[in-house]
Amino acid sequence: MATETARRRNTLRNAAIFLVLWEVIGDLRLVADGALPSPSAILIALWRDLADYPPHILATFEGAFAGFVIGNLVAVLAGILFAVSPVAARLGRGLNIALFALPPIAISPILVLTFSGMTPRIVLAAIGCYFVTMSATITGISQTDRRMLDVVRAYGGSRWKELRLVEIRAALPAILAGLRVAAPAAVLGSILAEFGGGGRFGLGAYLIGSLGRADPGRLWGIGLAATGMALIAYGICALIEARITHSTRAVNIAATAPGEERETRPVTDTLIALGSFALPFAIWWLLLKLMGTPEMIAKTPAGVVDYLFLAPSAPGAQSRLLAALAETLPMTIIGMAAGLAFAFLLALASVVRPGIVRGFMPIALVTQTMPLVALTPLLVLMLGRGPSVILWITISVTFFPAFVTLAQGLSMVTRGALDVVKAYGASPMTQLRLVSIPASLPWLFTATRLAVPRALLGVMIAEWLATGTGLGNLLNQSRGYLDYGMIWTVAVASVLLAVIFYQIVLIIERRVLRSYGMRPAD
């Protein structure tokens, strides 16, 4: 109890020191000649603009909320389907990875081209929620205590009865945890779509409209409002989660079932893999047909192939795309590696010195929800427009989810294993070396897979706003030139790129973990 209070006091003290430092730096205009406003200046700007906020916040809330509801509903249903039917799960794999990996910045323009009004915001917010909740649902259902299922089965219960009476309810804590993570993602999705959506209201629209005001206080104020919304959404979900799961924590230790190798059937497996690959394209094509969007704007898979390989302008398009890829790819890999390394070091530091992390957490949280577009001008002033700005932006977007995953992995290292080395008087560093680091290997891979799409997003945002290179710039320029073929091509290329990266990590992960006799972390 006493240590808890002391810990809390420490956290508060660190936060206070941080705020005072920030205030001094801001007031003395130490960073980039005053482009980093002090907390008080941000609050003053927030107060001054207070009358502007309500319609923007409500509009963002509307998009985020509708997206949250729809996205999570689809996610839970899909999760149930995938948990119940292994074939559906394997068929849906391509689609799931694509939805997980797609950089919002790349598909926001095509959503705006295809849909109108609030729809792009809702879709992007829904996509932001989908993967998290879908995987949480599958995890929740597949980790259901098998003995509870046996009870139902022993009475001849059907698959539906198992789902209804046991699995869905048992998965509820996992699903709610998923919703908690999805809530800020929905807010961010809505804001990202607002950048390109052209509505009058929404924090994203407000931010874009304010970029030209040379008023960093306001930009940070908007960022703060967005962060606040995300945190409140997170908090509400956490509260609901705590209330529902409080009394129903599992009382049994789940037993692992005897693992039986699935039989491999080459023909069926190949067919399913092909189907899984084709499904996203089929849905893409079908959606455009159903929407009836004019062909000039909405490129079907065939349209993109035509643009990139068959049309007279194809060689030009190809060379522009390849040139952009040659700029984006190396930065993505380097940025991702740097972000992961940073996250790994910080996670290790958190084991040895938990205090460091608690002091650092608030800043990390702000950088996660603060729309990058608001921070980019500041970063440009501080870092210039070279590769370093791309690297920093990429690190800042990749490190946080990676850090959370790794810290979780390290915290789950069994007490017993640590106690064994501790009993021989191992120092914290030796404990890290002998136990924590090897044990966190599966989590490092999970973190890498999480980092893939975010790294690509970070690089593209930096290219678009700061350096004018690579895929980010090509996307923006194509938008300006009404080069619809290229807009779709960049969107498809970036999604494919993310999926390929993801798959490569997955293959390495399987190899390495198998040779160490470990199981994937999720």
Binding site: G34, V112, L113, L211, R218, P294, M296, I297, G384, R479
Partner: protein, 323 residues
């Protein structure tokens, strides 16, 4: 109790956020007409706001829906997708789309006779003409890079001697001295810079050979054929709005502060500056939206410099004749 009030407010906003149907002086069946603006609500569209508020569109038998634009809204896309009937564009992208992709666009008028984009710099580090850009860093929105390159070429400046970086319509880097100049609306950004305590100086690309319109009025060929009457009515009412607006450029922006301009976070003084600055760029002998043969010729010539082969047939002046 609270809930119902909030809900009504909320529903009202939903409508406002999506679009703004303007239904005034109803009584007879008005023709629906949708206008996609090219930017967020500011003085660039003061004439339309005034025409709407004064009921000019209703008088012409139109029920106007006004769609706001923004940095990432592609106005041409909106009309191809059939979400709007008429929009304002930059002539280079529109004509490039016609030439390269066979887009069915017609330019039927021009809001700005002289394109307001120009090179903006600080008075203490002034860029007064294209030659001053040599060895400097210039921030240009990626879309406008070809226009700047054309202007440099016409002025005999080697493009490789200018460091061009992307610009996101944020003057902060200019004010902080990270860049030496930016390409922006000369009608707008100098005010912002002065608010930040600096003096700004600028010149128009137009004055250095890049003689193009801007906010060209564009419709699809299909709309031109099927909604000719409505298009004429829209331009008539809009022209009246603009004329009324320019009688006193300082008078109209305050009227929109709590309606059209609400939530943009820009001051009324800013909009008055803008409105005043744009007046000489818009006024034409043939009235607002006019496209004289000489002006069209100048556009074709300027666009040829950036490799866009504009033709006279891309411009349709017959609607203007009916106004």
């Amino acid at each position: 109790m609270n809930l119902s009030v909030n809900r009504r407010h909320f529903m009202g906003l939903m409508g406002a956020a999506a679009s703004m149907p303007l239904m005034e002086r109803a009584g007879f069946a008005a023709d629906p007409f949708t206008f996609q603006a090219s930017w967020i609500n500011d003085a660039e569209f003061a004439g339309y706001f005034l025409a709407a508020d004064k009921g000019y569109y209703a008088d012409e038998g139109l029920e106007l829906t006004y769609l706001s634009g923004g940095p990432d809204v592609i106005p041409e896309s909106t009309i191809i997708a059939g979400k709007a009937d008429l929009t304002l564009t930059t002539p280079d992208t529109t004509i490039k789309a016609i030439v390269d992709q066979g887009a069915p666009f017609k330019i039927i008028g021009a809001q700005y006779q002289k394109n307001p984009i120009g090179i903006v710099s600080l008075a203490k580090n002034p860029i007064n003409e294209p030659k001053d850009l040599i060895g400097k860093t210039l921030a240009v929105p990626p879309v406008n890079v070809i226009s700047v390159e054309a202007m440099l070429k016409i002025s005999g400046v080697d493009r490789n001697e200018v460091n061009i970086v992307p610009y996101a319509y944020d003057p902060t880097p200019l004010i902080k001295g990270e860049i030496d100049a930016s390409l922006d609306f000369t009608t707008n950004v100098p005010f912002t810079i002065e608010q930040a305590g600096e003096k700004a100086t600028s010149f128009l690309l137009y004055d250095y050979g890049y003689t193009t319109f801007n906010d060209t009025v564009v419709v699809t060929e299909e709309t031109l054929a099927s909604k000719r009457k409505e298009i004429v009515a829209f331009l008539k009412a809009s022209r009246m709005g603009w004329e009324e607006n320019f009688k006193d450029p300082a008078a109209s922006p305050p009227q929109f502060a709590d309606s059209w301009f609400k939530g943009t976070g820009r001051s009324v003084e800013n909009e008055i500056y803008f409105n005043t600055a744009q007046k000489p760029l818009m006024e034409a002998e043939g009235g607002i939206f006019a496209m004289s043969e000489e002006a069209i010729e100048a556009n074709i010539k300027a666009l040829a410099e950036v490799g866009i082969s504009a033709k006279r047939e891309h411009f349709d002046t017959t609607i203007l004749e009916e106004l």
